[in-house]
Symmetry: C2
Subunit: 143 residues, 2 copies
DNA sequence: CAGATTACTTGTTAATTGCAAGTTAAAATA
DNA sequence: TATTTTAACTTGCAATTAACAAGTAATCTG
């Protein structure tokens, strides 16, 4: 059964506020990063990520993201214990937001992963197109 | 006296995580929006914005943003009660993040302000250049 | 069948947020 | 000049949310 989208109205009609209400916490964008850039698709993979999200928070965030139509869930046909989380088109459309946030932090904070930053800087549109292409390929053999 | 930048290390070296730790809450980006797009510069102006931030949260966020070098503060030379908050270059560099978040929400949620969205869509680089130009003009007669 | 794995839930504690009220200094008003 | 108003906060408290630890049910593996 699909989890329903939150019915509560946003604090204002401002589009930035909508983004902030949907994504403005300490974990949501990291889960999306793991799906988009690292190809993570399962609960345990998210748990093993660098920043160590707690299990209950992860469960809540996955429900919230599904409620907003940013990710979708299916049972793994090969392993009944597993659920496969994938980004929807709406989720993939966050790629420009993520890349801009990466570039901003790379310019102004001390961070790792210079190879990622180099790739994005070299050709941001191409980088996003590549990410999207991988998503299309990996989504095609599902549902 | 300048408020010092938080000394605590980020949870990971990932540049996206740095952005999330600095900006990932329900208010920081709205304050930056008010400064960048609406030209707000004072505590009371921020309080009067649509989403109604609480006074203590606003004070904390302003300190945090100053600590990260995203905004800076000065006394108003014309009114000793007032402090003037302005975006730094680092803060202005968030313009692409903000515009991408606006475009994403505009595409996927019901939001207001179609004129803003139209302007950004028409020419995103030009829109950002215009915002930056206004900031240069308004900052020139300070400091 | 025994043990491991996966995706959670539940309880408890710690931290953060939100609301209301109070404080201080400076400016405007009577 | 005395009083009131304004601006920028701080303080205290209740409510919400996050973090940590442990437990559970279904499924898979040996």
């Amino acid at each position: 059964m699909p989890r329903s989208r939150p019915r509560t109205k946003f604090r204002s009609g401002c589009p930035l506020n909508a983004s902030v209400e949907i994504l403005g916490d300490r974990w949501s964008l990291l889960i999306i990063r793991d799906m988009m850039l690292r190809g993570f698709r399962s609960y345990t993979q998210f748990l093993e990520s660098y920043e160590h999200i707690a299990t209950n928070i992860l469960a809540h965030r996955l429900k919230k993201l599904e409620g907003y139509g940013i990710i979708s869930t299916q049972q793994d046909p090969l392993d009944g214990r597993k659920r496969i989380y994938t980004l929807t088109q709406k989720g993939m459309d966050l790629a420009p937001v993520l890349t801009e946030m990466v570039l901003w932090a790379a310019a102004h904070e001390e961070t790792h992963n210079p190879e990622l930053i180099r790739q994005i800087k070299k050709d941001q549109q191409k980088f996003i197109a590549g990410v999207r292409q991988k998503w299309v390929e990996n989504s095609s053999h599902l549902g």
